[in-house]
Amino acid sequence: MSEKYSSSELLICLASRIMEDGTTAFIGTGIPMLAASLAQSMHAPNLVAVFEFGGTGAILEKLPLAVGDMRTFNKAVHASGICDIMETSQRGFIEYGFLGGAQIDMYGNLNSTAIGDVLHPKVRLPGSGGGNDVGSCCWRTIAVMPHDKRRFVQKLDFVTTPGYLTGPGAREEAGLPRGTGPYRVVTSLGVLGYDDETKRMKLLSVNPGVTVEKVVENTGFDLLLEKEITHNPPPTDEELNILRTKIDPDGLYR
């Protein structure tokens, strides 16, 4: 890794570049907040950030520290509550949803509930929160996480948030809204997507200095590979400048 930027800064830039202008994105705590703010400053000034506890359309001038703090409705168009946001998502208004977790499997299912048996957990994790709801009802979800074998596993200890569940057709069979599901995984090693036919995770591009072999080695399940795997450009000077001077001047995510 170059000394010019940190791994967090790279994740933020990669996530930011995925966000489109003029659409809606359900934003969780941490890296997605910085990514949304960066996207608003770069290519997506009309990105509508939606926060779980009621903020819609905030202008993200200062970095929120929590999904309910007052920066999540800074100069926003609406300050409502969690029912309004979750119901807006349930009736199909939210395009992107950001997720994280302690474990992910090849179908993009996520565990943020427990390591070990949930009834006698080795580690009790924070739980679903809004994660399950985002994974259920947003059109396209993007998971952001570090990439290693402990996290990219064959079998989750607990399915907190639905990805493609057990494969093609499983979401629809379970009753989840049609046409929804995992879209991208942004990791410390690259960007992954999903195969249209099998719904299995597929490597699309690698981060600067990362080889395909390294991604495969750090993944605990059989990873599909895109025919032509591309290289993600490093953060640009403009992206880094905005991040460091405007969005995160205190360097919380450097």
Binding site: T29, G30, F51, E52, F53, G54, G55, L65, A66, V67, G68, D69, M70, T72, F73, A79, S80, G81, I82, C83, M86, Q90, N109, T113, V118, H120, P121, K122, V123, R124, L125, P126, G127, S128, G129, G130, G131, N132, D133, S136, C137, F158, V159, T160, T161, P162, L165, A170, R171, E173, A174, G175, L176, P177, L252
Partner: protein
């Protein structure tokens, strides 16, 4: 299921609630003494450390009442109850420290088996449980939790929709024995206004047998009547009103003050160990008789330095 839906019982309870505009102003100790009993099912309305009813929580811990069942869409307040072994069962959605990571109190309490029963839900599901109760019906259908272990470890059920044929998740109504909500302003009868986002205050306030409200400011009923569109919680839902300036400290309050980041970082370090947490609870809860003593200990100069608008206190 920890608390079963009972819309008929709730209707009868609500029929008997006092509908008169009377003065319900009291201290936090009196509110806890009169309206909470050991074994109750409790709920707190907040998001992370935002608008967290901490004054009420400290009084609850000091009261010695215990054996509670709780709805766990909480963070900072549940830490205090978990650390003092007051919780028997949890309807669990999220207990964590957000950017500061996993919550050590919940790890200790759940991994050791001190909390006897944990039932999983999503944030939308637990809020829709309140909404169903607020609607006066036994459940609402939803498109969350389907296909996951979250659903299997919840008490929701899946049926085929009689209209569309698709599978829907039925989210059972949840009526709290006692709810706790911290608001921006209330009159002495309980009519309450909240600045900024209102989280799940609207739904939860309508899903409580008893409701204790604490407020940054107490205002005249005439002010409430001048802006009735601002009332999120009408008085007849409320049993007690507690005047608690900085009642969310060390958390934040939209339009009033920011989170006390210095104190919170110290707290995050303390909660990492059982000893550290016990010391914290001793110093910041048990060694203080009431909210006034807490404000004196923190210091008004320090509290005012957190203010967003300087003129309110």
């Amino acid at each position: 299921m920890i608390q079963r839906p009972d819309p008929e019982g709730f209707r009868q309870w609500n029929r008997k609630k006092n509908k008169r505009l009377v003065n319900k102003l009291m201290t936090e100790e009196e509110a806890i003494e009169r309206f909470v009993k050991s074994g109750d099912y409790l709920g707190f309305e907040l998001y992370g450390t935002v608008r967290c009813p901490m004054t009420l929580t400290r009084a609850l811990v000091r009261s010695g009442k215990t054996d509670f069942r709780v709805a766990g869409q909480g963070v900072h307040e549940l830490d205090m109850l978990l650390a003092t072994d007051r919780i028997r069962e949890i309807d669990f959605t999220y207990i964590g420290l957000e950017v500061y990571g996993v919550d050590s109190n919940v790890r200790r309490a759940v991994e050791s088996g001190k909390v006897k029963n944990v039932v999983e839900w999503s944030n939308a599901a637990i809020t829709w449980r309140f909404k169903a109760a607020a609607m006066g019906v036994p459940f609402v259908p939803a498109k969350s939790m389907l296909g996951t272990d979250t659903l299997r470890r919840s008490a929701a059920k899946v049926i085929e929709c009689p209209f569309t044929g698709e599978k829907v998740c039925l989210i059972p109504a949840l009526v709290l024995d006692v709810g706790f909500i911290h608001v921006s302003r209330a009159d002495k009868c309980g009519n309450s206004q909240i600045d900024g986002i209102s989280g799940f205050a609207f739904e939860m306030s309508r899903a409580c047998r008893r409701l204790v409200v604490s407020a940054e400011e107490i205002i005249e009923t005439d002010e409430i009547r001048a802006h009735p569109d601002r009332t999120i919680i009408p008085y007849y839902l409320v049993d007690a009103v507690v005047h608690a300036p900085y009642g969310s400290w060390p958390g934040e309050m939209a339009g009033y003050y920011e989170r006390d980041e210095e104190h919170y970082k110290m707290y995050v370090e303390k909660q990492a160990t059982a000893e550290g947490m016990a010391g914290y609870v001793q110093e910041w809860i048990f060694d203080l008789p009431n909210h006034k003593a807490l404000l004196e200990k923190v210091g008004m100069d320090h509290l005012r330095s957190l203010n967003i608008r300087g003129d309110w206190i």
